[in-house]
């Protein structure tokens, strides 16, 4: 079943690429055409292949829905290049797409890749919008055409906010020594300590498989109220399994991205019970509102599965971009990067990922993630209060 899904995905990808190619040709032919080709680079191979694919699928949904929304007036396509998680290839991809005269860029995963890639986009005078890199430095580069709908502060706020609401006094942070994870760990450490919470830090290598020694340290030495896990899926699984075996006396296991997802709920069902992680929407997704439902339906149609958070981010960033392009185009029938950027900066939208309002740096300060909790076959949103689908189950751990 998985495999056929994959093949379908492949077919869809090549179809999109084909359309994009045609679109580029058409665009090059007639300068004032109503067909807009977007450029996208995401990792479809390499370390970040999984997350890149998720964003890629969301972008495809946004383009498909835009074609329906603007049917008869404009058409959209996206030309995607696999950057293979390599900055040099991402830069080359951006340059190639720019040469193919794409209107703007949506995509990018990993702060280290987005950095140089977005600089290449700026050089080509194109707008670049992303949700794939949360490093604060990205929006501190004085670029006018760079937009990001999420940021590490938003993730950190959610995690710290949840701990605050739990009223924990001592937290052990287990984090992977990667760029995004160590940055996030430091953010959380700082803000928890400011709130008077005692913090212990445990940095582990990405290749760690046996977390029992770390967990035992947590259990016997730290004795925290809660454990914060900042890593990726394989780390979460390892940590939680170590927890299940050692059963430290903690009140909550809290993670960040890639944890409170439908996939983790399905594949590691027992392991993730009562575990928290960032999540925009509950699962099974109760899409409320027309747009959300349309998104979910289209996602299932195109990719044969329920959307995850990666798809939502990819979708939101691309939809914001598409709408800005249309607005920038329709007043004077011209596509200008500066104008698209202006339109984006004027956005005040309530999206699938919450409010989006860009500041002058292209950051979205109002971004705040939500925290979900695995409960049975469901992921309930438990923080913030106003978005709650259920009260948090606290204290509770998988074991």
């Amino acid at each position: 079943m998985r495999q056929s899904r994959f093949i379908k995905g492949l077919a869809a990808k090549s179809l999109i690429a084909g359309i994009a190619g045609l679109g580029a040709v058409a665009l090059a032919g007639t300068a004032a055409a109503e067909d807009f080709a977007l450029g996208s680079h995401v990792p479809l191979t390499g370390k970040l292949a999984r997350v890149g694919t998720g964003m890629h699928e969301g972008i495809a949904v946004a383009v498909a829905l835009a074609n329906e929304r603007y049917a008869g007036r404009h058409s959209f396509s996206v030309e995607t290049i696999d950057d293979e998680t390599s900055p040099a290839k991402a830069v080359a991809a951006v340059e190639k797409l720019a040469a193919d005269e794409v209107v703007a860029f949506t995509g990018g995963y990993g702060s280290n890749i987005i950095g140089p890639a977005s600089e290449a986009a700026a050089k080509a005078d194109k707008v670049y919008i992303t949700s794939g890199g949360v490093a604060p430095g990205l929006t501190e580069r004085g670029m006018t055409g760079f937009f990001r709908i999420n940021n590490s502060a938003g993730y950190g706020k959610a995690m710290v906010g949840l701990f605050d609401e739990m009223g924990v006094e001592k937290v052990a942070i287990l984090f992977s020594n990667k760029e995004a994870t160590s940055g996030m760990a430091k953010y959380v450490e700082k803000h928890l300590e400011e709130a008077g919470v005692e913090v212990t830090m445990h940095e582990f290598d990405g290749s760690t498989t046996d977390f029992k020694p770390i967990m035992n340290n947590v259990k016997l030495r730290d004795r925290p109220d809660a454990v914060a896990m900042i890593g990726y899926e394989n780390d979460y699984v390892g940590i939680l399994r170590a927890g299940t075996v050692l059963k430290p006396d903690v009140k909550a296991m809290v993670g960040v991205w890639s944890l409170a997802t439908s996939q983790m709920n399905e594949e590691f069902h027992d392991l993730v019970q009562n575990v928290y992680g960032t999540s925009l929407l509950p699962y099974p997704v109760e899409f409320q509102g027309e747009e959300a439902q349309a998104f979910a339906a289209k996602y299932e149609e195109l990719h044969g599965q329920k959307p995850d958070y990666l798809g939502q981010f990819g979708y939101v960033q691309t939809t914001l971009l598409v709408d800005a392009i249309v607005r920038a185009f329709e007043d004077d029938q011209k596509i200008e990067a500066g104008e698209i950027a202006e339109e984006l900066r004027a956005v005040e939208a309530d999206t699938l990922i919450g409010d989006v309002v860009f500041d002058e740096k292209g950051d979205n300060p109002s971004f705040s993630h939500r925290m979900g909790q695995h409960r049975g076959d469901r992921v309930e949103i438990v923080w913030p209060k106003k978005a709650q689908t259920a009260e948090m189950n606290f204290p509770a751990v998988p074991w």
Binding site: A49, T53, F204, D205, K212, P213, N216, R221, V245, D270
Partner: protein, 287 residues
């Protein structure tokens, strides 16, 4: 403190069992043919993915998919041998490059077929805790495969020392020409060593699938770990592999417990280099 140390040693011991199974296949081929099979980790990974596929599509328990995995991995190992045996010049280095190429191919095939998602068994039985005296904690899978690993090592050791084929294998490894004179066909024996290494890789892969998670890029790490242990053990020493694996396992868990978890890898690498420089024949190597 005592509790922490004991748990670290226990965890290291169990990890060592898995590492030993992982390394033994590599060490066997290395001992027989002086060939470092850089695709060994990918063979292990392949077994894990076969188990995953059987579990997902047929609902089989990982243990039940061992026969299928044996066939798939054994044949792949044989194919690698057939390619390696075609090398005529500078076999030691060219085989390194060739198996390196095979490793890249296998990693990407796994990526294409099973995608980059992380996989692990959904069979809860393996993940249940196994606790000794309320102080030593482990998962059932770790204990089970520690036992399996010990049995495999004992079996391999017995096979090498007491069976005719095993002795032939050792004869080939010490002197190919003399073996020829004894009426042993070196090609057959070398092919056999690859297949046996595939068998060991299979068990190792299933063990890893049951205890931790697998993903396509994991193979490289597994190969490196296996090689580190092989060097530590020394050429041709089966018990050495077990002891080396346990030392590495314990070294890692002690580092994680008392120093800094992110330095685990550093410990293994430094030990590896020290052994290479100070005692290149390994802890238990002959010759």
């Amino acid at each position: 403190m005592v509790e922490l140390t004991l748990q670290a040693l226990f965890s290291g011991l169990l990890a060592g069992g898995t590492y030993a199974t992982l390394a033994l296949g590599l060490a066997l081929v290395f001992g027989t043919m002086r060939i470092i099979n850089l695709a060994h980790g990918e063979l292990v990974l392949l077994a894990a993915y076969v188990a995953f596929e059987m579990e997902r599509s047929a609902g089989l328990n990982p243990l039940a998919s061992i026969p299928v995995a044996l066939v798939v991995v054994g044949l792949t190992a044989l194919a690698i041998y057939l390619a390696v045996s075609r090398i005529r010049t500078d076999r030691e280095l060219n085989s390194l490059l060739l198996t390196f190429g095979v490793a890249i191919v296998l990693t990407n095939l796994i990526l294409i077929v099973w995608s980059a998602d992380i996989r692990s068994t959904s069979s809860g039985w393996f993940l249940e805790g196994f606790v000794i005296a309320d102080t030593l904690f482990s998962m059932r899978s770790e204990v089970v495969f520690f036992g399996v690993g010990l049995a495999l090592i004992a079996a391999t050791w017995w096979w090498l020392n007491h069976s005719w084929l095993g002795r032939a294998l050792r004869a080939v490894s010490s002197n190919r020409d003399a073996a020829l004179l004894m009426g042993v066909n070196p090609a057959l024996v070398e092919g056999l060593s690859f297949v046996v290494s595939g068998v060991l890789a299979t068990f190792s892969g299933i063990a890893i699938y049951c205890a931790t998670v697998v993903f396509p890029a994991l193979g490289h790490n597994l190969t490196i770990k296996a090689f580190v242990i092989t060097v530590l053990a020394g050429m041709g020493s089966v018990p050495g592999v077990l002891i080396g694996a346990i030392l590495i396992g314990m070294g890692e868990s002690l580092t994680a417990t008392f120093a800094k978890p992110s330095l685990q890898e550093l410990t293994a690498m430094v030990v590896f280099l020290l052994i290479l420089f100070l005692r290149p024949r390994g802890l238990f190597g002959r010759r």
